[in-house]
């Protein structure tokens, strides 16, 4: 089993969850969070024309465009090993705008899953 953690824009959460639901992954955990990437929270008014990170940081510093903690949403979904590429593909496709700040997806191993209601363990616990 793998846990897919996606940190995405707040306004694409409902679209992402709907798309996952359609292909058979209705169970998700979501959390409000804040974060930033390698642009250090600086942003450019000319996005997405500027694709050079150093330029964005320079322009942002000059014009004072800076957000230290950018609002994001964290989606966590536990799936079988075989379903990881599908889930990653759907999340990427729905969230890709081409601008900085689209987010990141991490895949972490999960050793055990237990359904509290019945006590089932393993892959049965994360199935439908």
């Amino acid at each position: 089993m793998k846990e897919v953690i996606a940190i995405i824009r707040p306004n694409t959460v409902s679209k992402t969850v709907k798309a996952l639901d359609v292909v058979g992954f209705p169970a998700v955990t979501m959390a409000e969070c804040f974060g930033r990437g390698k642009q250090k929270g600086y942003f450019s008014a000319n996005l997405p024309e500027i694709v050079d990170i150093q330029k964005i940081i320079e322009e942002g510093e000059k014009e004072g465009r800076f957000i230290k903690y950018i609002p994001k949403r964290l989606i966590s979904i536990v799936v079988d090993d075989a379903d990881v590429p599908l889930v990653v593909g759907i999340i990427s496709k729905v969230n890709r705008t081409g601008s900085f700040g689209d987010g990141r997806i991490f895949v972490l191993p999960v050793e055990e899953a237990i359904r509290v209601r019945t006590g089932e363990t393993g892959e049965i616990a994360i199935g439908n």
């Binding site: 969070c33 804040f34 974060g35 999340i91 990427s92 890709r96 191993p109």
Partner: protein, 105 residues
């Protein structure tokens, strides 16, 4: 790659983020949460607090950068009192940038 999950005091987050940025690790995710440690919370007079406000910092780094980042978090989050928090390290098998679809951090 490793995911460093640090549960720290909310008022130390700014210090940690600044020290990580100066060392060349600008990217992170921050989640506000509540929790308690093995002291089972905090008792002030008659009032018992078992949901103490904490902040979770998620930082994804390469394997050889783990020690440096953990050292920076430890030094800037520490006050020497109970409640400074914990740091957990988990493996990451894959990482993707959504904008480009590239793998890796």
């Amino acid at each position: 790659m490793k995911m460093i999950k640090a549960i720290v005091r909310p008022d130390k987050v700014d210090d940690i983020v600044d020290s990580l940025e100066n060392a060349g690790y600008p990217a992170f995710t921050k989640i506000n949460s509540v929790g308690r440690g093995k002291q089972g919370g905090l008792k002030v007079g008659e009032i018992f607090y078992d949901e103490l406000p904490k902040t979770i910092l998620l930082i994804a780094v390469n394997d050889d950068e783990v020690d440096e980042v953990v050292g920076l978090i430890k030094s800037s989050a520490s006050t020497g009192n109970f409640g400074d928090g914990k740091i957990f390290i988990q493996p990451i098998t894959e990482a993707y940038t959504i904008r480009t679809g590239e793998t890796g951090i």
